[in-house]
Point group: C2
Chain length 489, copies 2
């Protein structure tokens, strides 16, 4: 086991370097350095891939003698990943890396004009490569499942389809009810300087007891969390002058991711079990802190004093008014700005499209039409251009097919975990008093301390005694939004 662990820990150094190269690219890298940086990431990323499929690792995995459950998991998770990726030719892996890096750069340029024609041919190539990749990885039932498994191990598209269908029906009902109500004034519709936003966001992270000795808060176009190394998990946010909500909820969201990464046991670090259980579970933690904690009335009661101290002009609103304003439900174009009720509709559209693309039932050129058609059908809006439509997110242009559903799954896991948590603590009081350590301890014990030892389906059952279900989410939304809108949802 010792040799196996050392092998993984040595390999992780290359992964750590790639993480820093990526973080720097998104934060501080000078403009002209991008081209070379892409080459460096591709070279070291591919080398890391090669280490992870090397015959030596295979032998170490086959001859390892685990002495306890943790070591058994290291070997079983290690084997699962080794044999999965082993089949993939490094050349294909590198071609996907290079194509997606090139396409992502093209997309960045083409996005503001919504020029889908600019990205079409490279996207076709990337999807072709991704299909080959999926075929090599192998799957049951449909090709899309091979990709889904990369982000949400064990999860099947059929299962997601069923859950999403329930979520969709419920969401459309809520939306209808809410829309019949008169609109309230939006207290956040005003300019607040970046300096003040920075001050408040930094305070917020200290309030949540984010450990600045093990992380940082920086600025990037798309907020993200990056575990760069042991004791080094950094987050970014973005400051939009006329909507401070954006920075606040980006910061809390990324805090949730960072807390997870920082709470995985140090002795798991660099090993196959040393990361989050799945992308969906990772998202459950960010969405839990962003929405269930951060958008609760109790949380606003806790931060209201500081908030109006930093931004005195907000004093004219009561804490309830501010709380309602961070929970307004409305049809909108941009996923990352969507409220927690309509958010899942944005995901369902993406899920249906990428599933069809990968399974060969939709061609690339038809993406914009299909997007606009589904958007009209689910969200109820006419999409005016691709910038607000199928070109808004980087995922497809960066080659991440199978990733989107995990966002909605995260919402569902979060609600299910929340229901369990409420059985053991007085949630509102705890949040109101800022006693976050109690909540963190629950999350650590139930989720973070397990690392990647269990597949998400096992883990949610271990935590809650139940398989994943849309019901806790429906219940949570009903309860909360009945209060927000003062009527039975």
């Amino acid at each position: 086991m010792k040799e196996l662990k050392e092998y993984y820990k040595r390999a992780d150094k290359y992964s750590s370097a790639v993480s820093l190269l990526y973080w720097d690219m998104q934060t501080y890298m000078p403009k002209d350095a991008g081209h070379y940086r892409a080459e460096v990431i591709s070279e070291i990323g591919t080398y890391f891939f090669k280490i992870m499929v090397d015959d030596i690792l295979g032998r170490l995995l086959e001859t390892a003698q685990p002495q306890n459950e943790i070591e058994e998991k290291i070997v079983s998770v290690g084997k699962r990943e080794y044999y999965k990726y082993k089949k993939v030719p490094p050349d294909l892996f590198q071609e996907i890396m290079i194509t997606s890096t090139m396409l992502e750069q093209k997309w960045e340029v083409a996005k503001p004009n919504g020029d889908f024609g600019e990205v079409m041919s490279l996207l076709e190539k990337l999807i072709e490569l991704t299909r080959r990749y999926a075929d090599i990885l192998g799957y049951e039932d449909e090709r899309y499942n091979a990709l889904l498994d990369l982000y949400e191990p064990g999860m099947k598209a059929k299962e997601i389809e069923q859950i999403f269908s329930n979520v969709k029906i419920f969401t459309l009902k809520v939306l209808e009810k809410v829309e019949s109500l008169p609109k309230f004034e939006d207290p956040f519709d005003r300019e607040i300087s970046v300096d003040k936003q920075k001050e408040f966001n930094n305070w917020l992270l200290h309030y949540l007891k984010y450990d600045f000795n093990k992380g940082r808060l920086d600025v990037s176009t798309h907020p993200f969390t990056n575990p760069i190394g042991l004791n080094d998990v950094r987050i970014t946010t973005r400051y939009i002058v006329n909507d401070i909500r954006n920075s606040i909820y980006s910061t809390i969201h990324e805090f949730g991711h960072a807390l997870y990464a920082l709470s995985i046991p140090t002795e798991f670090y660099g090993l196959p079990i040393g990361s989050s259980a799945s992308y969906g579970f990772d998202e459950s933690q960010s969405r839990f802190w962003e929405n269930i904690v951060g958008r609760s009335l109790a949380f606003w009661e806790g931060i209201y004093g500081k908030f109006v101290e930093v931004i005195p002009e907000m004093k004219e609103y009561t804490v309830e008014e501010l709380w309602r304003a961070v929970n307004r439900v409305q049809r909108s174009y941009i996923r990352t700005e969507a409220d927690e009720v309509t958010y899942n509709l944005h995901i369902i559209i993406r899920f249906e499209i990428e599933r069809a693309l990968i399974n060969g039932e939709l061609s690339v050129k038809d993406i914009p039409d299909r997007w606009n058609e589904l958007f009209k059908k689910y969200v109820g809006l006419e999409v005016p251009n691709n910038t607000l439509g199928c070109m808004q997110d980087p995922h497809w242009y960066g080659g991440n097919f199978g990733y989107f559903p995990t966002y909605a799954l995260g919402n569902l896991y979060a609600a299910q975990i929340y229901e369990k948590l409420k059985e053991t603590i007085d949630f509102d009081n705890t949040v109101r008093n800022g006693d976050f350590e109690i909540i963190k301890e629950f999350l650590r014990e139930k989720i973070h301390s397990k690392g990647k030892m269990y597949e998400p389906a096992e883990l949610i059952k271990l935590i809650t005694g139940e398989p994943l279900s849309h019901e806790p989410f429906v219940k949570y939304i009903k309860e909360k939004y009945s209060k927000v809108y003062g009527l039975e949802i």
Copy 2:
């Protein structure tokens, strides 16, 4: 040749990653991440070393068919380095890396108390390893030459000893003359906020036309320049509230290094000729901009307006008074704060000590006594503690023996280059008008465009027609300081 070039360019990606890991460690890395970061740097650094001594590279070098002078240089410089490092066992290389990283961390802690006992045993180990390293590399005359050659290819200790002896005699004479004069008031002896210092330093880099699309200015304890990748050369400075000179001259100094790195032809990038000619030549560029340009009266005439705009309380001084104040000559303890006249004395002390250490004529435990004895003899001050004495610089504790002399060589190269430059342009007028492009063009043509094609001894002769000599430096100091002090030096 194509395969050889590609090999080098692939290898450079790992060197680029190490550079970023190091830059981040000195600027933005969270406190607790240091231990793991040292391991990542050691792992990837050692892998880079292995690539550079791999048999495959040897075969590519032996079978390459250069078609022109540049390609010939790539092969000859490549071979020189390959066969030099090939002899070094990777284990020894890695042990030196780990020991020096550990020692440097120990030194950081022990330095404020000047506790030499804390670092002694690891320093003994590191010097033992370094001697073995030098023996493996091979040398003529004395072991120290093997290390010198790493920083200043082709240079011998005997040669340096001779030049330094002349510099020393001259310096002591100047110092005596200057000290008989009455002291003038120091206009810089006042607090200037970091914000104002930042504003001025940023303006300064724009004034010098540093390309912010290819670099950055950040803050670190010890200012440095880091070529991280193609089109990515970053500099740092430090802000000391009660001495703005420190940030200004650190920034200009590092600008000089960065300009060199950014002006080496792109087609040399990643190849054996794709760096500066030597550490001494690199330092000649930073010292040229810092002292010969930046501490000239003409330069102050150019920046005076902006300087007193940002720091209005400085208006009470004339440009001549400020110029004199950035050129005061005095005995002092700290190398990095020494004026350009006494600076070389600090280097000579270090040169004598490290030469004796490596050649086996001095033991580690005797370093503090020897330091204090030489300091009294040359600089004329009693050293009160090791913080102001033999523990002030990181070099020895980071394993960089043979590096120090290049600082003084840089001063001499710079003066010799300056003498040549003055033959072709009206230096004072050019600097006064901020026409730096004319100076940059000269440096680019004569120095930067050559990369590492020539050894420093060849290069200085190519540029000036003469071998390295202390005379241009003596002449430069005499002329300048006769004006600064208003008497014949």
